[in-house]
């Protein structure tokens, strides 16, 4: 295999593994801020206990995010050095800004959350929780800015073969930044809230930690109800933006083989690129035109409107995009049922639904990964849309065997870390909020 393919596999592997953790961090910081606000207002020992429990989990999740994030910061130099030369004038700044504005703050105040409960006042502790929430979301914004610039580049000019910054705000807040950010952050909140609700549900099912499990479940579930429904709006907005600014990507998402007026929206099917048709397809006539342009007769560009060599991989784009939407629809359904049970105050007794919430915990993680994959597959063959092809972005001096070696090492290390992470996570949950010790335990 050649070095470019191997570098793509390595980036996919390392970024995909990393992306398990940051969305959960975003959601957990939201849950913790709310719980900590209750604690600040009521000085309640119960909320303090629950907060300590969630902070213990956040600390573990954050460490995994840090460990796997460093790799990505350096990977543009190690594996994508041509990319770094071509677009470093624009792409480096958000990474540096993430460190200066967000990551320092997140790390320092998380230190206070994890270790400083007995060293600062309740007010400072709440402020630390708010700052960790703020910084983790700001950190996400800078990363989304960097990624969005690859999707819909703006604010630059090509000079001497390199992309040169011309307008910082146009580059940072390009066509896809804000909507992608909203969509990603809400994905994180869904992840974190369902994760927390799942823990609360499990305690209820096991008839244990009843004092903690009820506030955990209700707090988290209300967040989940609100966001899982709103996420449809942000998802719609994001799709419209993709259709308008990256039409080839939308054509691949929908496997729309021919550009047409009154284009249908594909609900399910298996695209066959050789025959240029989608097998076993269920599609809603004219819905794609309506969704994008609010006009049943509007023309939507199809795959035949673009050069063959500039098309993304249709099968992967279609399946990841539709997989994400399928899961998103499931979350909305769960949200509606949750709302009914919460309002009618039957949630704690409805055991079958508590089981559903518990086993649904991994699904938002899968939805996040699928959404990210859809966004990245759909951008191909470009690293920076219509500016730099992925094949021209890789390092030229790194031999393929070295990349293969690092892929093997990353795979082994990440398998080990993930197994230990899960083991520790389950042991924290099994011990429960009553048995949380602050700081390191040596005995």
């Amino acid at each position: 295999m050649d070095a470019v393919i191997l570098s793509r596999i390595q980036f996919g592997l390392t970024a995909g593994f990393h992306f398990i953790f940051p969305p959960l961090t975003l959601g957990l910081t939201l849950v913790i801020v709310i719980i900590e606000a209750f604690h600040f207002k009521n000085n309640s020992e119960l909320y303090k206990k629950i907060s300590n429990f969630m902070i213990k989990i956040l600390g573990l999740v954050f460490v995994m995010g840090v460990a796997t994030g460093i790799v990505l910061e350096f990977s543009f130099g190690t594996n994508w050095s041509n990319y770094s030369r071509m677009v470093g004038d624009i792409f480096g700044a958000p990474l540096a800004a993430e460190g200066v504005f967000a990551f320092f703050m997140e790390s320092v105040f998380l230190g206070i959350l994890v270790f400083g409960r007995n060293r600062v006042s309740r007010g400072v502790f709440l402020l630390s929780a708010v700052l960790v929430f703020f910084a983790s979301h700001l950190s996400g914004l800078w990363i989304i800015i960097a990624n969005s610039w690859m999707q819909t580049p703006a604010g630059f000019a090509i000079e001497g073969g390199r992309a040169v910054l011309k307008d910082f705000f146009a580059a940072a807040f390009n066509d896809s930044t804000l909507i992608r950010y909203l969509h990603t952050v809400m994905g994180g909140w869904i992840t974190g809230s369902l994760f927390t609700a799942g823990i609360g549900s499990w305690y209820l099912l096991k008839n244990r930690d009843l004092d903690s499990s009820r506030p955990l479940l209700t707090t988290a579930l209300w967040i989940f109800v609100a966001i899982a429904i709103l996420q449809f709006g942000s998802g719609h907005g994001h799709s419209v933006q993709v259709a308008k600014t990256q039409p080839a990507k939308m054509a691949a998402f929908e496997a729309l083989w021919q550009g047409q007026n009154g284009a249908p929206m594909s609900v399910i099917g298996i695209p066959d690129p050789a025959q240029k048709k989608t097998n076993l397809e269920i599609a809603v006539p004219k819905l794609l035109s309506i969704a994008i342009y609010f006009d049943p007769g509007a023309r939507v560009q199809g795959l035949d409107d673009f050069k063959e060599e500039e098309l993304p991989p249709v099968v992967l784009s279609y399946l990841t995009y539709h997989g994400m939407i399928g899961l998103g629809s499931l979350f909305a359904l769960l949200a509606v049922i949750s709302a009914v049970l919460l309002i009618s105050k039957r949630i704690f007794e409805t055991r079958w639904f508590l089981w559903v919430l518990t086993v649904a915990v991994p699904l938002p993680f899968i939805a996040n990964e699928l959404g990210w994959m859809a966004a990245e597959f759909g951008r191909q063959p470009w690293a920076v849309y219509k500016v730099l092809k992925t094949a021209e972005a890789a390092s030229v001096v790194v031999p393929a065997w070295q990349i293969l070696l690092s892929i093997i090492a990353f795979s082994a290390i990440y398998c080990l870390l993930f197994a230990v992470f899960l083991k520790i996570l389950f042991s924290i949950i099994r011990k429960g909020p009553d048995n949380i010790t602050i700081g390191y335990v040596g005995e």
Binding site: A67, G92, V108, V164, Y440
Partner: protein, 332 residues
């Protein structure tokens, strides 16, 4: 002087400051990590050392991430050349940093594999502590580059004697950071072992500094006329002497500050030998990579400067606050 030139020089200096911040702060937790199995007699000692660095190590590591990001943004060609050229070495550093990031938490919570995570933290700290110096030694001595700024050597090019000695020098500085900070935070036998180790390391550090100076004279003869480098070398020797005196009296904040000053001196030497180059080219192949031929555009450097001027004072402010929150000895 033109604005562009001024910005390029400023960014050379600012990236230097980020690396100094990283060396001084993450230096102490890297140093403690590298010595952990040798200093800690039991679980209590490990808990004490982890508690000393637990709340701050991650913030300290952000100096490296920000330094890397700033290098990417300000001098993208240097970032591209060095990181792709040193691929295997860098992967080794990354694997080490991954293990070290998780191993404090995992040591505490994954009880069945405690010995493994203890050694993971040790090796994960040792490798970067040594290899960062080796990398710096290489860019000072020079590496083979072609006219497209690409590295043409291989893994073994990086393991020449001069960079290895610079690696050991940096490693000794990191260990001294670890000893002086560790002694500040601990009590009893652990504290005494840290002070005793510090006394030995300060001697090794001074010897390595002398050896490095001689080797620099041999391998980089033109550097001998660089007055600023001599001043910085004098600062290193003086602060090492004073660190040794302080360690003789026991421990204290002064020992840590003086050890940190010696580290600044090392960076001062590196900076004054390098300026305005960032990576030297040897074997007459390509160009030296300097601040003028590798930098980003004037607009990017300006935007980055604004970001740094707004952001870094705030960072320094709350970092000092956090260190004050966790001030004092950790409970034994």
């Amino acid at each position: 002087m033109e604005t562009m030139q001024l910005l390029q020089m400023l960014w050379f200096f600012l990236i230097g400051i980020l690396f100094v911040g990283y060396s001084i702060l993450d230096g102490f937790d890297l140093g403690i990590g590298a010595m952990l199995p040798f200093l800690a007699k039991d679980k209590k000692d490990i808990t004490a050392l982890f508690t000393a660095i637990g709340p701050v190590w991650d913030g300290n590591e952000v100096w490296l991430l920000t330094g890397g990001g700033a290098l990417f943004a300000a001098f993208p060609h240097v970032y591209a050349t060095v990181f792709s050229g040193f691929y295997l070495a860098l992967m080794l550093v990354l694997f080490a940093l991954i293990f070290r990031s998780v191993s404090l938490e995992f040591w505490s919570l994954d009880e069945t594999r405690r010995a493994f995570w203890k050694w993971a933290f040790c090796v994960g700290s040792f490798l970067p502590a040594l290899l960062f110096g080796v990398a710096l030694g290489n860019v000072i001595l020079g590496i083979p580059l072609n006219d497209r700024m690409e590295f043409t050597g291989n893994f073994f090019t990086l393991l020449r004697p001069y960079p290895l000695v610079i690696g050991l020098l940096g490693f000794s500085a990191i260990l001294l950071q670890g000893c002086t900070f560790g002694a500040l935070k601990t009590t009893g036998g652990l504290h005494d072992r840290l002070v005793a180790a510090g006394k030995k390391i300060v001697v090794a550090y001074a010897i390595l500094m002398a050896v490095s100076s001689v080797l620099t004279a041999l391998f980089i003869p033109w550097s001998m006329g660089n007055i600023l480098a001599w001043v910085c070398a004098a600062i290193v020797f003086a602060s090492l002497f004073l660190t040794a005196l302080q360690l003789g009296k026991g421990s204290g904040f002064q020992a840590f500050l003086l050890s940190s000053l010696s580290f600044m001196g090392l960076w001062g030497i590196a900076g004054s030998l390098q300026f305005p180059n960032l990576v030297r080219s040897i074997d007459g192949g390509g160009l030296n990579l300097d601040i003028y031929n590798t930098s980003s555009s004037q607009l990017t450097l300006t935007v980055m400067l604004i970001i740094a001027l707004i952001g870094m004072p705030i960072v320094i402010g709350y970092t000092i606050y956090a260190y004050r929150v966790f001030k004092g000895k950790v409970a034994p």
